[in-house]
């Protein structure tokens, strides 16, 4: 699994991490069901909603670490 970075769009993140939709939902981001996910990056989304991007990024990369 490719490492998730903050400049990836939500759509790219979903392609790389099948669990990402659920992780983001737990943070209150229902980006999985939103068409903006095709264009908006993780960083833009987090800034827009006032959420800590680095913390969420770490969470998104956790399964990748487990796989290695």
């Amino acid at each position: 699994m490719k490492k998730i970075t903050k400049d990836m769009t939500f759509a790219e993140i979903f392609e790389n991490n099948s669990n990402a939709g659920f992780i983001l939902m737990q943070k209150g981001l229902m980006c999985g069901g939103c068409p903006m996910a095709q264009m908006e990056t993780l960083e833009q989304g987090c800034i827009g909603h006032g959420l800590p991007v680095d913390e969420i990024l770490e969470e998104l990369n956790k399964p990748a670490k487990k796989d290695e």
Binding site: A11, G21, C34, P35
Partner: protein, 387 residues
């Protein structure tokens, strides 16, 4: 004359607000020369005063109240604030209020404000249909309880609450009962005497009248203090020059016939067709539901996106999810009735009116099917995981 020109005219957000009725606009036009302050003493003012008092009587008769029990306000938010805070001011020895978990923010936030002043508030849970737990209300009433406030019909899911049952308990226990009847007024017959209601909030713009007019019904003998001091209008309970036009619009609005059977049939058609979409769910009660409300959720999509796409199609509905706003709060009502997380975000509310047609309902069903399909193609939450 059309006040609001909307793109395609499929307006289905009548729980948010309604179109001002043409007969009301005509009525306002015909009365426009009586612009005097109704508290003045000359002929034009006396005519305005007479008209206001005539409407006060008509509204009172409409709910089986007395004229002096009808207090005009700026709307239901003020009425709700006035009811709870006005009672609190007049009865400082009682510090406990009971309400439900699914009230409108005008009640919830008023309760939160009172909580900061030392009041204890019990927010009573509801079942999966959204019906408040009456036994729990009964258990919670104690000697310190000032008022029980439970809405008549919920604004999001349209659930009709057993207010007469709750009011009877309150009357028996000597506790005030207030209801926010914004979503039920003119849809469901209300008899405040028979129903043991002490205070009731009403809004004009939800029933085709102007925005900025509302009523708080206050039963004679209720110990309450005003929130707005000034010229002592409205039986010294709500100062401020009367909103003559708003009052005239409300007086006319209560006479507009509601095609309940027609709307109910269209609503049921809409629910039946929308539930044919895989991964859809009706929020709220199937039976104890106001006749113009539909609230459905679609698995794995975002309600606000669906709402915006429908807006492109010229269809105006509302959603409990607000992802574009800074706050990511889910609907407190859908949370209270335990809607699963992957449905809670994908909810839309459709509220019909006399103007809704069969053709509109069919168009809406087709467009929703198309838009839900499109959004699901983009969603990482796959329907197969749900079904």
């Amino acid at each position: 004359m059309n006040v609001v020109a909307n793109k395609m005219g499929i307006y289905l957000d009548n729980a948010a607000t309604t179109k001002v009725d043409n007969t009301i606009l005509d009525e306002l036009n015909s009365f426009s020369q009586y612009y005097a302050n109704p508290s003045s003493q000359y002929d034009m003012a006396i005519k305005a005063r007479k008209r206001i008092e005539q409407i006060r009587k008509e509204i009172a008769d409409f709910i089986n109240a007395e004229s002096e029990e009808i207090i005009f306000t700026s709307g239901a938010t003020e009425s709700n604030n006035f009811a709870l805070k006005g009672l609190a001011l007049a009865n400082p020895q009682k510090k406990h209020i009971i309400t439900s978990m699914i009230e409108h923010p005008a009640i919830i936030q008023t309760c939160k404000a009172l909580e900061k002043q030392g009041y204890k508030i019990d927010y009573i849970p509801v079942n999966e249909d959204g019906i408040v737990d009456v036994d729990k209300i009964k258990q919670k009433i104690n000697t310190d309880t000032l008022v029980v406030s439970v809405m008549h019909v919920n604004n999001e899911i349209g659930t009709i609450q057993p207010i007469e049952h709750i009011a009877a308990i309150c009357r028996q226990k000597g506790v005030y009962f207030h209801t926010d009847a914004v979503q039920s007024f003119r849809k469901i017959d209300i008899d405040v005497k028979e129903g043991n209601i002490d205070l009731m909030s009403i809004s004009g713009h939800k029933i085709n009248a102007l925005k900025g007019i509302g009523v708080l019904y206050i039963k004679i003998g209720t110990r309450i203090k005003p929130l707005i001091d000034g010229g002592e209008q409205e039986f010294k309970l709500r100062s401020g020059t009367e909103n003559t036009w708003g009052i005239i619009s409300l007086g006319k609005a209560i006479k507009i016939f509601q095609e309940k059977e027609k709307i109910l049939k269209l609503r049921d058609d809409l629910i039946r067709e929308l539930l044919k979409i895989k991964g859809s769910k009706l929020n709220g009660s199937e039976t104890d539901r106001i006749y113009n409300n539909v609230n459905v959720s679609f698995y794995g999509i975002e309600g606000e996106s669906l709402m915006l796409l429908l807006d492109e199609d010229g269809i105006e509905v509302s959603t409990g999810s607000a992802c574009s706003s800074h706050s990511l709060e889910e609907s407190h009502v859908l949370k209270a009735i335990n809607v699963p997380e992957l449905y809670i975000h994908g909810s839309i509310r459709i509220t019909l009116s006399n103007d809704t047609t069969n053709t509109e309902v069919n168009t809406v069903v087709d467009k929703i099917k198309e838009r839900v399909d499109k959004l699901r193609q983009l969603s990482p939450f796959k329907l197969e995981d749900e079904i």
